[in-house]
C-alpha cells in the first residue's frame, strides 16, 4: 500500500524533473562541460529497503556538496533492466546513470554509442579498486565502475555439519565428497540447488573450469569467445562426475533459487539442506525466508574446493559485482558522482546496508557480520576473481552456456556439448 501511494508522487516528480532537464538541456550536451547545473537521471535496482533509502540519501548528500548536480532517482526492478536498458539506449532520453554488471552485457551496450567512455575521468582513482574494475572495461576502456564486489562460495550450516560429524570445512574435492557422504549418512540433504533458474547450475561448471584451466587460458579464450583448450571439456567431465554422486536435494531441477521457503536459499535457511553454492548475498536472501533470528551465527563460508592435479589456480574465486555506467549527455558530472560512490564514507554505508562486499578495502570493517567480513578478507587474499562466465561472455553466449550446463544437470547432453554451445553461439548460431 505504501508503495503504491508513493509511486504516483515519485512518477510526478520524475516527470517534472525530466521536463525541467529537457528544457535546460541545451547547455548539458557536451560531455566535457562539467560547469552549469545538471540533473542526472539515475536508474538503480535498489527497489527494496535499505538500499532504496541509501541511494536516495547518497544522492541528496552529493547534491548538498555539489549544488550544480541534482538527481532524479528511479528505482527499477532488477529483472527489468535487461529489457529496459536496450530500449532506453535506442531512445533519445537514456538515463544518465544506470545499473551495470559489466562484462558481455556492457560490451553489447557500448555498441549503441550512448555509453560514456570514462577512462580519462576515472584514471586518477580507479586503481584504488584493484583489478576487479577491469570487469567493467571494454577493449581496455572503462565504460562503467563497480561499487560492490560479489563472490561465489559455499554457504553452509555449522549446526548441520557438526551433526554429520564434519569438523572442518572441506578444502579439496576428496574432502568435499567425503563431507557429502557424511551428510547423506546423517539423513541431511547435502547441497541445495536452485536448478529452475539455471544460473546457479552454471556456478558449478564455472568453478570446475576455473580449477581446470590455467589463468592464461581463462583470460585468452574467454576474451576470444572461443573455447579450444581441453580443460573446458575436462571441467564438464568433473561436473558430470560430481553430479553422479547425487549431492543435491530431491527435485533440484525444479527448485527456484530465491523465492519462498522451498527455494534453495530457503532450504538452507530452514535447516532442510546443509549448504549452497551461492553469492555473498545469500545470507540476506535467506534471512527473508526464515523466522530464525540467529541464522547469521549458524552460517559459515568456504571457497570452492581445489581439484587435485588440475592446471588451474586452486585459490582463484568466481564472482562479479554491481556497478554503474554513465551515458554521454552528462558524463563528466556522472563520473564525479561515481568517484564519490567509491569513497570510504559512502562505501561504509554500502557495506552496512549489506548489498555486497565494498570495493574500497577501508570499508570492509563496516560489514554487518563476521562471516561476510571473512569472505571479504579471503577475497582480498585470493589470487584472482574470475567473472561469472555468463556475464564475462557476450549475453547470447553466456545464456547458451547456462542452458547447456542446465541440460547436464537434467541428465542430458555431455561435456563436449557445453563447449560446442559456447563456440556456436559465439559465431551467431542459434
Amino acid at each position: 500500500m505504501r508503495h503504491s501511494r508513493r509511486f504516483p508522487l515519485a512518477a510526478l516528480v520524475a516527470a517534472a524533473a525530466l521536463t525541467l532537464s529537457a528544457c535546460g538541456g541545451g547547455g548539458d550536451e557536451s560531455p566535457a562541460a562539467a560547469s552549469g547545473p545538471v540533473t542526472l537521471t539515475w536508474w538503480h535496482n535498489g527497489t527494496a529497503e535499505p538500499v532504496r533509502s541509501l541511494w536516495q540519501q547518497v544522492a541528496d548528500d552529493y547534491h548538498k556538496a555539489h549544488p550544480d548536480v541534482s538527481f532524479t532517482v528511479q528505482p527499477i526492478q532488477n529483472e527489468e533492466f535487461p529489457t529496459k536498458v536496450p530500449l532506453a539506449l535506442q531512445s533519445n532520453t537514456p538515463p544518465d546513470l544506470y545499473q551495470q554488471w559489466g562484462g558481455g552485457d556492457e560490451a553489447s551496450q557500448v555498441e549503441s554509442g550512448r555509453v560514456a567512455d570514462l577512462t580519462s575521468s576515472v584514471q586518477g582513482w580507479i586503481g584504488g579498486l584493484g583489478s576487479m574494475a577491469q570487469g567493467w572495461q571494454v577493449g581496455g576502456k572503462q565504460y562503467g565502475v563497480p561499487y560492490v564486489q560479489h563472490v561465489v562460495g559455499f554457504w553452509y550450516r555449522k549446526d548441520l555439519f557438526a551433526q554429520a560429524g564434519i569438523t572442518a570445512p572441506p578444502t579439496t574435492m576428496a574432502d568435499f565428497n567425503a563431507a557429502v557422504g557424511k551428510l547423506k549418512a546423517a539423513g541431511i540433504a547435502p547441497i541445495a540447488l536452485g536448478g529452475k533458474d539455471r544460473w546457479p547450475d552454471a556456478f558449478y561448471y564455472d568453478y570446475f573450469a576455473v580449477r581446470e584451466c590455467s589463468p592464461q587460458v581463462l583470460k585468452d579464450e574467454i576474451a576470444a569467445v572461443k573455447l579450444q583448450n581441453p580443460c573446458w571439456v575436462k571441467a564438464g567431465q568433473d561436473l558430470q562426475g560430481f553430479l553422479a554422486t547425487q549431492p543435491f536435494q530431491t527435485g533440484f531441477n525444479g527448485t527456484p533459487a530465491q523465492q519462498g521457503a522451498g527455494s534453495s536459499a530457503g532450504l538452507v535457511a530452514n535447516g532442510k539442506a546443509a549448504m549452497e553454492l551461492q553469492g555473498d548475498w545469500d545470507p540476506s536472501t535467506m534471512s527473508s525466508l526464515t523466522d530464525d533470528k540467529d541464522l547469521d551465527s549458524k552460517l559459515g563460508w568456504f571457497p570452492f574446493p581445489s581439484v587435485p592435479g588440475a592446471a588451474g589456480d586452486p585459490a582463484a574465486l568466481l564472482g562479479g559485482g554491481d556497478g554503474f555506467s554513465c551515458t554521454t549527455r552528462a558524463a563528466a558530472a556522472c563520473a564525479g558522482f561515481l568517484q564519490y560512490l567509491t569513497s570510504t564514507p559512502v562505501q561504509q554505508k554500502i557495506a552496512e546496508a549489506g548489498s555486497g562486499l565494498p570495493v574500497n578495502a577501508d570499508a570492509v570493517a563496516s560489514l554487518k557480520n563476521e562471516s561476510l567480513k571473512s569472505v571479504a578478507e579471503q577475497t582480498r587474499k585470493a589470487s584472482s576473481v574470475q567473472m561469472y562466465f555468463d556475464r564475462a561472455f557476450p549475453t547470447a553466449v553466456g545464456q547458451a552456456l547456462n542452458d547447456a550446463v542446465a541440460n547436464l544437470f537434467a541428465g542430458q547432453g555431455n561435456p563436449e556439448a557445453v563447449v560446442q554451445a559456447v563456440n556456436q553461439a559465439a559465431t551467431g548460431n542459434k
Binding site: 535487461p82 529489457t83 536496450p86 530500449l87 539506449l89 535506442q90 552485457d105 553489447s108 551496450q109 555498441e111 549503441s112 554509442g113 536448478g195 529452475k196 533458474d197 539455471r198 536435494q249 530431491t250 527435485g251 533440484f252 531441477n253 525444479g254 527448485t255 527456484p256 523465492q259 519462498g260 522451498g262 549475453t395 547470447a396 545464456q399 547458451a400 542452458d403 542446465a406 541440460n407 544437470f409 537434467a410 541428465g411 542430458q412 547432453g413 551467431g428 548460431n429 542459434k430
Partner: protein, 321 residues
C-alpha cells in the same frame, strides 16, 4: 466476411424528398468515420504496424543496439526451425492444445450439465468451479509452484490420503513437467469453459426437453440428441479460444519452470522471451514472434472458414430476416 446487409429503409425516409438518400449516405459515411476511425487508428498503430515492424526486424541479425545493418534474409527463420528446442516448443504447444480438447472439453461439458440441474448449493458450487479463473495466471503459477515443491503441499496431501506412491518430481522430471503444467492449466481454465457452457445451456429451450420427454426419450437421449447439438456453437467457440490460448501459453510456464528442465516445458512464447530478450537477439526473437503469429493466424482463418462459419452465418441470417 459476409457482404453488408442491404440498408433497411426507415419509415420516415419513404416520404422524403429525392435528395435525402444522398444526404443520408453522407451521414452514414460520417458515422462510419466517427465510429470506426478511432478503433482503426488504434488497431493500425498497435497491431498492424508492430506486426509489420516485427517482420522487418526478423530479416536482420540485430542485438537491439545500433542501426539495423546486418541483413540476413530468412536465416533467422531457418535457424529457428533448424533448432530442436524450437521444434520441441511447437510440439509442446500442440500437445497442450490437443490435451485441452480431449480432456478439458468433456470435463467442462459434464460439470456444466450437472450444474445446470436443480441441486442444493448450486450457486455455491458454480462459484467454486469458477473461482480459479478469477485469479491471474501469475498468481496461479506462484501458488502451484510452491505447492508442487518436493515434500510440498501436493506431496503431503497424496501421502496423507495413502497415495504416497503417486508422488513424483512434478516440476523437476522432464518426462512429467508438461503434464503437471497441463493439470494446473485445467484447474485454472475449467471454470471458464463451464461458465461459457452454462450460458449456452440457458439458450436451450425447455420446450424441446419437454417434447423429448413426452416422446419417451431417456435423460441421456435428451442430452445426447437435443442438448449437445444445441450447445454446438458454444463448444466450437470454446475450442477456438482454448487452442489460441494453448498456442500463446507463456505466464504459467515462465513462472513455474522457465521452460525447463532441459527445455522439457518450453513453449513458443517462452522460447521467444528466452532467446529474444534474454540473449539480446531481437532479430531472431522477432522471427519467432512472426512464426507464432502466423500459426495462430492460419489456425484462426481455417477454423473460421470450416468450423465457425455456420454459426456466424446463422446469426447473420437471423438478424437480417
Amino acid at each position: 466476411m459476409a457482404a453488408p446487409a442491404p440498408p433497411r429503409p426507415l419509415a420516415r425516409t419513404v416520404h422524403s424528398a429525392p435528395r435525402r438518400p444522398a444526404r443520408r449516405r453522407g451521414r452514414t459515411r460520417l458515422e462510419l468515420v466517427l465510429l470506426l476511425g478511432p478503433a482503426l487508428v488504434l488497431f493500425t498503430g498497435f497491431v498492424l504496424v508492430p506486426i509489420g515492424i516485427a517482420v522487418y526486424y526478423s530479416l536482420y541479425s540485430w542485438n537491439g543496439f545500433g542501426p539495423l545493418t546486418d541483413f540476413v534474409g530468412f536465416q533467422n527463420y531457418a535457424d529457428a526451425f533448424g533448432g530442436a528446442v524450437f521444434r520441441g516448443a511447437i510440439w509442446h504447444n500442440v500437445v497442450i492444445a490437443v490435451l485441452s480438447i480431449v480432456i478439458q472439453l468433456p470435463l467442462s461439458v459434464g460439470i456444466a450439465l450437472l450444474l445446470d440441474r436443480k441441486l442444493k448449493g448450486r450457486a455455491f458450487l458454480r462459484m467454486v468451479v469458477f473461482a480459479p479463473y478469477v485469479l491471474s495466471e501469475a498468481i496461479t503459477a506462484v501458488i502451484w509452484l510452491l505447492m508442487l515443491q518436493p515434500n510440498g503441499f501436493v506431496d503431503e496431501l497424496l501421502r496423507g490420503v495413502g497415495l504416497g506412491g503417486l508422488v513424483h518430481q512434478w516440476l523437476a522430471d522432464p518426462g512429467i513437467v508438461l503434464y503437471t503444467l497441463f493439470v494446473v492449466m485445467t484447474w485454472k481454465y475449467l471454470g471458464f469453459g463451464i461458465i461459457l457452457l452454462l450460458a449456452g445451456l440457458q439458450g436451450v429451450p425447455p420446450e424441446l426437453r419437454e417434447a423429448a420427454a413426452l416422446d419417451g426419450a431417456t435423460s441421456w437421449q435428451t442430452t445426447r440428441h437435443v442438448v449437445l447439438p444445441l450447445l454446438g456453437p458454444t463448444i466450437r467457440i470454446w475450442i477456438f479460444l482454448s487452442v489460441i490460448g494453448s498456442l500463446q501459453l507463456f505466464d504459467l510456464v515462465w513462472i513455474m519452470t522457465l521452460g525447463g528442465p532441459a527445455n522439457a516445458s518450453t513453449t513458443m512464447a517462452s522460447y521467444l522471451v528466452d532467446h529474444g530478450f534474454k540473449r539480446y537477439e531481437f532479430g531472431f526473437g522477432s522471427a519467432v514472434a512472426v512464426v507464432l503469429f502466423a500459426i495462430c493466424f492460419v489456425f484462426a482463418l481455417v477454423y473460421q472458414r470450416f468450423a465457425l462459419r455456420r454459426d456466424t452465418a446463422g446469426a447473420l441470417t437471423r438478424a437480417v430476416s
